[in-house]
């Protein structure tokens, strides 16, 4: 068990290191950010040099990278080109909004996918199953930002039931959460259906049924509980793409999260914020995967024997 955890930890460190390399060097791909910053005006050479020196861009690239890497370890991601505020504090300020959205998305996905998946599996081959599968298929066939726009159109513009943007109360969270959770619910419903079908064929289900327990009691207490494990793992793995999705959903709903911070920084060519924001989200995703993997190895000890799992 311990060797598995250590191997998994080392792998995580390697992944974060490679990601930091990719992000750092992609951003310097086109050369000097300062020249892009000043693209509008015609500043003097001295002014450019001054800014470069202040931002540490006059040092050689490898030295800049080590400074960046050192900052990463000590959670100091530099300062914004524009406002001079520390990038870490900018991110932490907005992290709550992003996590609230991600959490809302997961809740919506489960609230839709569990009933749809279970019903599809139990009523396999009937029209309910058919509609469940159609739902899953349609759920993965449109971009989530479009769903967001349609929800705004119906519930904010026409019915005026819910706000279309901002982050003030619970009602602001509803439309963004549905938008984020919907795509995931399509994939999740498919998974719940297939793992339910697998479990329902097991002998202990027949045993439970033959004991005269009511059908739904068997389905929920015996079948669903066992089908839950792969579902939870899947949610852990999907958390990454969910956080990626928040970047887009935040843009649709003017949600003041980390994703919107990154997109605003792109429009202002504020490279430390882009760099810091992206690596911050990436590290969260990698860590969530690590936690899911390790906790799963406690729940199901067979995992640790799998080579390089």
């Amino acid at each position: 068990m311990l060797t598995y955890i250590i191997r998994r930890l080392l792998h995580t460190v390697l992944v974060i290191f490679v990601i930091s390399l990719i992000i750092f060097f992609s951003i310097r791909l086109t050369g000097d950010p300062v020249s892009v910053m000043f693209s509008a005006g015609e500043p003097s050479k001295e002014a450019i040099e001054e800014v470069r020196k202040n931002l540490g861009l006059d040092k050689p690239v490898y030295e800049q990278y080590f400074i960046f890497l050192k900052g990463l370890v000590t959670l100091d991601l530099g300062e914004s080109f524009r406002s001079g505020t520390s990038v870490t504090s900018l991110i932490l300020e907005r992290l709550g909004a992003t996590l609230a959205l991600a959490f809302g998305g997961i809740v919506v996905a489960m609230a839709i996918a569990f009933p749809v998946g279970i019903l599809s599996a139990v009523k396999r081959g009937t029209s309910i199953d058919f509609f469940g599968r159609i739902f899953s298929l349609i759920g993965i066939s449109f971009p989530n930002f479009w769903l967001g726009i349609m929800l705004i159109l119906v519930f904010a513009v026409h019915l005026r039931w819910l706000p279309s943007s901002g982050f003030e109360s619970f009602s602001h969270l509803i439309l963004p959460s549905i938008t984020l959770g919907m795509i995931l619910s399509g994939i999740l419903a498919r998974l719940v259906r297939s793992s339910m079908l697998e479990v329902m064929n097991q002998q202990y289900i027949s045993t439970a049924k033959s004991k005269g327990i009511s059908e739904w009691s068997v389905i929920i207490k015996h079948a669903f509980r066992n089908a839950l494990l792969p579902t939870i793992t899947f949610l852990g793995i999907q958390f990454g793409s969910l956080l990626g999705g928040t970047v887009i959903v935040e843009q649709v709903f003017a949600w003041p999260g980390v994703g919107r911070l990154i997109i605003d920084a792109i429009n202002q060519r504020d490279y430390p914020v882009i760099q810091g924001g992206v690596i911050f989200l990436a590290v969260i995703m990698v860590l969530v995967n690590l936690i899911v993997d390790i906790s799963y190895s406690f729940i199901d000890p067979r995992i640790k024997t799998g080579k390089g799992a």
């Binding site: 792998h11 390697l14 992944v15 490679v18 990601i19 990719i22 992000i23 992609s26 951003i27 791909l29 086109t30 298929l137 349609i138 993965i140 066939s141 449109f142 971009p143 989530n144 930002f145 479009w146 726009i149 349609m150 705004i152 159109l153 513009v157 990454g240 793409s241 956080l243 990626g244 999705g245 970047v247 887009i248 843009q251 649709v252 990154i262 997109i263 792109i266 429009n267 882009i274 760099q275 992206v278 989200l281 990436a282 995703m285 990698v286 995967n289 390089g308």
Partner: protein, 300 residues
């Protein structure tokens, strides 16, 4: 040598082509719908200049945000799906938008498919350090979500269709490589491969003649599904302003424009999304059918 009997069978096969088609439709209604939707969008992309009623880039401020002709109370609008914020015909722009989406889908998949297939074959067939190296690289790529990677690279490189295609191709090879590696490992132990090796077949011949033909159907299935995914990803990136150049008609770009006019011009927000859905649903349905047909056990 062809006997009389064989000829009869061939003729019979020809005669029942229409019948066979009806049978196919009855047996696979979902696959048929998928095929239909794919033909519809590919047709729109290929024949765009002949089927569009207006120039998709021609602005006309007189027609600013003109509603669809069938829902216009004044009866003045000549645009079937309405016009956008600078008076361009929405229908023509949607038809032209199919070009961009399908280009990204096809060429993106082509690149990732070629890279992924080659690396998957090497990884599965030769194993050892090459397998380790390729699969570790794949792990790292998987850990770094595409959308974040694309945001960083596109924000530096600037917009462009081919930039998206190359970024998609260079990230999504992992799916093909993993799929093919797993199948090659299983195939390698099969008797026909062992036999080919026993009679002195070189590695290259064995891969080309015995392994590759057996993984083609899975490549086809995954490729079809990736086209759907790539179309969605391109639309999302363009929506963020990090995809296709805003001057080129694209579905994601049209939706990005629509956000400011959502209260006054619902058509600008609805129809480009419907176009995306029709196309993506088509490829997903087709992919599902291909999977059931060739490879029912394939897990993706």
């Amino acid at each position: 040598m062809t006997t009389k009997n064989d000829e009869k069978i061939i003729v019979k096969g020809k005669k029942s082509l229409g019948k066979k088609f009806i049978q196919f439709v009855k047996k696979n209604p979902a696959g048929f719908v998928g095929l239909l939707l794919v033909v519809l969008s590919v047709g729109s992309a290929l024949f765009a200049q002949w089927i569009t009623p207006f120039d998709p880039t021609k602005a006309s401020l007189m027609d600013r945000l003109a509603p669809p002709s069938w829902s216009d109370p004044t009866g003045e609008s000549v645009f079937f799906l309405g016009a956008d914020q600078i008076g361009r015909d929405l229908f023509s722009r949607i038809i032209y938008g199919a070009k961009i989406s399908l280009m990204v889908g096809f060429f993106g998949v082509l690149i990732s498919l070629v890279i992924g297939t080659i690396l998957g074959l090497i990884s599965g067939y030769f194993g050892k350090w090459m397998d380790d190296f390729i699969m570790r690289t794949a792990d790292v790529q998987l850990a770094f979500p595409f959308i974040l990677f694309a945001i960083v690279v596109m924000s530096v490189l600037g917009t462009g269709v081919w930039k998206i295609i190359i970024i998609l191709g260079l990230t999504y090879w992992v799916g093909f490589a993993r799929l093919i590696r797993g199948q090659v490992i299983a195939l390698k132990e099969q008797e026909f491969v062992q036999a080919a090796r026993a009679i002195g077949g070189t590695n290259f011949t064995i891969i080309r003649k015995h392994i590759l033909p057996n993984v083609l159907s899975s490549i086809l299935v995954l490729g079809t599904m990736y086209i759907a995914e790539f179309i969605l990803l391109e639309a999302s990136l363009t929506f963020l302003g990090l995809g296709v150049d805003p001057t080129i008609p694209s579905w994601g770009g049209m939706l990005a424009d629509s956000r400011n006019y959502i209260t006054t011009a619902w058509w600008t927000a609805v129809f480009p999304g419907v176009a995306i859905m029709i196309t993506v649903l088509g490829f997903n349905l087709l992919g599902d059918w291909l999977r059931d047909r060739f490879d029912p056990n394939l897990k993706m």
